[in-house]
Amino acid sequence: MVRFIGRRLLVSLPVLFLLSLLVFLLFKLIPGDYLSEMELNPSVSKQQIDDLRQELGLDRSLPEQYLLWMGNLATGKLGYSFSQRRPAADLIWERLRGTAQLALGAFLLIGLVAIPLGVIAALRVGSWIDKTILWGSLIGLSLPTVLAAVAFLYLAYWTRWVPIGGSDSFLHMVFPTLTLALPAASFFVRTTRLELIDALNQPYITAAAAKGLPQYRIAWHAFRNAANPLISLGGLTVGGLLSGAVIVEKVFSWPGLGSLTVDSILNRDLFVAIDCVLISALMVILANLAADLLMAINDPRVRQQ
């Protein structure tokens, strides 16, 4: 078990390294740097620019700059933000919390609402409940996130049910989380339903029913077997949630990693951008690892492999 986790993490190290190099080179491919815009300002002298460039380490050679970031990585500071003049680590931890809150909220919605809805639909295939759930999830899947976000924003504005903008209280979280979760949750409803229907048609279910097991135990049997594809889907969902978070954070002005990433890339805040991309990639990798572990816990057949 520990060896398995260790090996997976080791394998992902080169991927992360290549990724950081890729982002770094992409940044350096574009002419100019963080200070280029300031150079156009007539009230800032050439001397000031040169001093700043030296201070930020932007005057060094490319390999040196990269090694500078690597060294900073080792000390846990993750480099520094050019625009905010402080260690990138502080900034990122702050923002990471915001995104993590949204993502966890979305997963809670998936676990507590989407999957039960899918189960209900599968247990009542063809009934009006099933049809309503199917259509509802299809609509959720077809709404552009931008549109859903704006719709929720106006709903909040008109009804004044919850405060909007910022992240001061739990109530601020409601609509951003709903928006973020909507497409993923809709997909989960549909997948749960399909997988469970598949499982319910297996011979072991007929056997369990013939033995006279109560309905809820039969459903549980089927669900355990249908769960693995759902777990692996959960791992894959993290990447989608991180992408979706960019829009949600922009629309609801929620302080999170997504908007930080966009801003740092557009402002050419080199180190912060690399860190953001790396952290997101790391989250995707960890989520997939967690999914694999959960599958092994759920299914003895997976454990043997």
Binding site: L19, L22, V23, L141, I265, S280
Partner: protein
């Protein structure tokens, strides 16, 4: 799914596709044409009966004029008859230059806005048609390249194996471990800010391909790995068929089911993706037109509070994506039971 569902899918998709293909002909104006005097004009009502109740076979609109500095319009009694196959702005279509449009009012200088006009007096129907054309085009081209790259690299990795396999699959992992949107932003940062709509088109296609190729490659590789052990493939090899022939004639045709399903799953995702890009300001930019820019206008405060007709594209986008999703569901279900879908 019942017949009615299918009918809904085909009608919506048929209309959308026809609209996209024939956009220059169906649209009465060019998407950038501005009628500055008629900004925020509400949809023009088309009549068959006049106020006395007498019927006219040829539909007509009432002439109208702006009555103040603000976008307030009043209709007059004068009838302007709609003309069909009317001469208008020139456009290129199928390699030739045309100047005919489906309908228009050529008698007066008054524009006819079936879906109203926006802040610059641009006809929303024309913009919607051209926007659909752009978004569908981007989606289809994106799918074409995604599948081409995915099938190419996937079959290469699966069939060749060894070091090639490792190399391709590790690159795949690299791309799959990256949230798609970050890839987009990184790429966008490299490209100059002001680019033409045509360049944007290919940039977005490139972005879609970069995001999508990984998962397709992975699945195709897996399928090729099992398919190349099949009896008929071994038989072909024994006869002396070249690797190329085995791959093209005996292995890849068997992946077509997956490819068709994957295409139908990716198309709505790509349409939504283009909307996201335009929202973040890295996709199509004004005066260019796409579903994304239309949605941006539709979700603005003015549109929602005052000029409700500007929200019309929302309905079109939603119905389009919904139909593609329904089609994808249907194809997936058919693939599960291994039936032919055509």
């Amino acid at each position: 799914m019942k017949r009615s569902g299918l009918l809904f899918i085909w009608i919506t998709l048929g209309m959308v596709t026809a609209g996209a293909i024939f956009a220059p002909f169906l649209a009465p104006y060019q998407p950038e044409d501005q009628a500055r005097d008629f900004f925020y004009a509400p949809p023009t009502a088309v009549h068959f009966f006049d106020e006395q109740g007498s019927f006219s076979v040829r539909p007509f609109i009432y002439d109208y004029a702006r009555i103040s500095d603000r976008p307030l319009y009043r209709a007059t009694q004068e009838k302007l008859f709609l003309e069909f196959w009317v001469e208008g702005a020139e456009y290129r279509w199928l390699g030739a230059t045309w100047d005919r449009h489906l309908f228009g009012v050529s008698a007066s200088k008054k524009p006819v806005f079936l879906l109203g006009s926006d802040s610059l007096g641009r006809d929303q129907l024309s913009r919607l048609l051209y926007g659909m054309r752009f978004s569908l085009g981007v989606g289809l081209a994106g799918i074409l390249f995604t599948l081409l790259v995915g099938v190419g690299l996937g079959s290469l990795a699966g069939y060749a194996g060894g070091i090639v396999d490792t190399l391709v699959m590790r690159t795949c992992d690299l791309f799959l471990s990256l949230p798609g949107l970050f890839l987009v932003l990184g790429l966008r940062a490299v490209v100059p800010l002001e680019i033409s709509t045509a360049t944007t088109f290919w940039l977005i296609v490139l972005i879609f391909t970069l995001i999508g190729w990984g998962s397709v490659t992975r699945v195709i590789r897996g399928q090729v790995l099992t398919l190349k052990e099949r009896q008929h493939v071994l038989a072909a090899k024994v006869i002396g068929a070249s690797d190329w022939r085995v791959l093209i004639h005996h292995i890849l045709p068997l992946t077509s089911n997956y490819l068709v399903v994957q295409a139908s799953v990716l198309l709505p995702l790509f349409i939504l993706g283009e909307i996201t890009l335009s929202f973040l300001g890295v996709g199509v930019q004004e005066p260019g037109v796409s579903m994304g820019t239309l949605l941006n206008t539709a979700t603005s405060l003015q549109a929602l509070a005052q000029f409700r007709w500007l929200t019309a594209p929302v309905v079109v986008i939603f119905l389009t994506v919904l139909s593609f999703n329904l089609l994808g569901e249907r194809l997936k279900a058919l693939d599960r039971v291994r039936a032919r879908w055509w």
